[in-house]
């Protein structure tokens, strides 16, 4: 990168900040969207608690996009952080329920086997 090009970039950045504050949090949008998708795949819609968090994350994602459309990128960034955190937690809660169900099934299987073996 030449000194002139670097200088141009810096100039654009200052211009952007000067025109409306922070840059659009596109990466956070991508990250939050991925988190929502992962929660869905993990089965969050089928778990009551996780489902609420997923709904909240989706709403946050939509709100952030609206904020970005209004040029409120800083607010959008904060909203997106919350949405991603909600989606992440939804994912883990769904996984927790599944893991607990799986463990219980394994325990039940052992009990059933032992009972059958003792008959």
């Amino acid at each position: 990168m030449s000194i002139r090009t670097a200088g141009s970039s810096l100039a654009l950045a200052f211009l952007a900040m000067a025109c409306g504050g922070a840059a659009a949090p596109n990466e956070r949008v991508t990250s939050a969207t991925a988190a929502v998708r992962a929660a869905e795949v993990a089965g969050a819609p089928g778990n009551p608690e996780a489902s609420l968090l997923l709904k909240r994350a989706r709403e946050g994602l939509a709100q952030a996009k609206a904020q970005m459309a209004d040029g409120k990128n800083e607010d959008a960034a904060l909203t997106l952080q919350k949405a991603e955190a909600d989606a992440d937690l939804a994912l883990y809660l769904a996984r927790e329920a599944a893991a607990k169900a799986e463990a219980q099934a394994a325990v039940d299987q052992v009990k059933a086997f032992k009972q059958k073996a003792s008959e």
Partner: protein, 314 residues
């Protein structure tokens, strides 16, 4: 009033100095972290818990730096969610441990069951083998018994056959003996009286035929007759023979007894000389003590003078 004013002033001064109360989001975040730290995450997912701690520390720092700005609240919210996520991950790890333990338990139970089944199978196999051995032994014993039975039956058959043969031979011998006896009896009947009594077959020969009066030497014709008697006795077969000499009542009894013994001995000697076994024949003198007819007439006395052979048949 003065006091109230002073308190309000102090509060405002404190707020003005930057000691802002922590926002609800930060309080929730601290609470969520404490809960997570007390759960399985502390032991099972410490990295996730540490991430939550870092998020909380960041929120705490922001609060110290900037107070309850939106940024701080957002950081606190995120820290709360990360703490909750860390707690959930701890629960997931604990559930995984339970699942894995259950899988090990199941495997152990299945192994134990398989071992039991294996032992049971081995026991059943051993029992079957024992049963097979027992049945084989029984079969062999039965076979041996059958062979022995066959051998015994064959032996019995042989014995029956032999017995039958013996019986036939005995029967034949008996028939022959009967024939001989009949023949002998017929022959004897010509020279003597023959009758069956309890003491045996009694052959009575008149003394007139055998001896001269008062003598005990056999007349020549008597010897011929006794030869026939000896032949008949040998043909018939005998166990024992008793020769009894009898007289009439004339003369002294003593003399008659001596004479009767002498005559019996003469008959015995002659029969022995003709092949009658000496150990089977005895002689005795009865004298006049057992008459068979009256001694008052000549005919009666003639009948009383006699020699009797008492034959015990075989």
């Amino acid at each position: 009033m003065r006091h109230t004013t002073l308190a309000a002033f102090t509060l405002l001064a404190t707020l003005g100095c930057g000691t802002t109360l922590a926002p609800k989001e930060l309080l929730d975040a601290r609470d969520a972290y404490d809960r997570a730290a007390k759960g399985p995450a502390a032991k099972l997912t410490p990295a996730q818990l540490d991430t939550a701690k870092q998020a909380l520390d960041k929120a705490e720092a922001s609060f110290k730096e900037d107070g309850d700005e939106d940024g701080t609240k957002t950081m606190a919210y995120v820290a709360m969610r990360k703490a909750q996520a860390a707690a959930a991950q701890g629960e997931i790890a604990a559930a995984a441990q339970r699942r894995d333990q259950a899988a090990r338990d199941l495997q152990a139970a299945q192994q134990s069951d398989a071992d039991k089944a294996k032992k049971s199978l081995a026991k059943t196999k051993a029992e079957l083998a024992e049963e097979k051995r027992r049945l084989e032994a029984e079969r062999k014993q039965a076979e041996a018994d059958r062979k022995q039975s066959q051998a015994e039956i064959a032996k019995k058959d042989q014995e029956v056959h032999k017995t039958k043969q013996q019986l036939e031979e005995e029967q034949k011998k008996r028939l022959d003996a009967e024939k001989r006896l009949s023949a002998a009896m017929a022959s004897l009947a010509e020279i003597a009286k023959v009758k069956e009594e309890k003491r045996g077959v009694v052959i009575t020969i008149s003394g007139e035929v055998l001896f001269a009066s008062g003598k005990h030497e056999l007349l020549p014709i008597a010897q011929n007759k006794l030869d026939d008697v000896a032949k008949a006795l040998k043909d018939q077969g005998y166990k024992a023979i008793l020769v009894e000499g009898h007289t009439d009542s004339r003369g002294s009894a003593k003399k008659n007894e001596e004479l009767s013994l002498q005559r019996a001995n003469a008959v015995r000697s002659h029969l022995v000389s003709r092949g009658i076994a000496s150990e089977k024949i005895k002689a005795t003198g009865i004298g006049p003590s057992r008459p068979i007819a009256t001694n008052d007439t000549a005919e009666g006395r003639a009948n009383n003078r006699r020699v009797e052979l008492v034959v015990t048949p075989e």
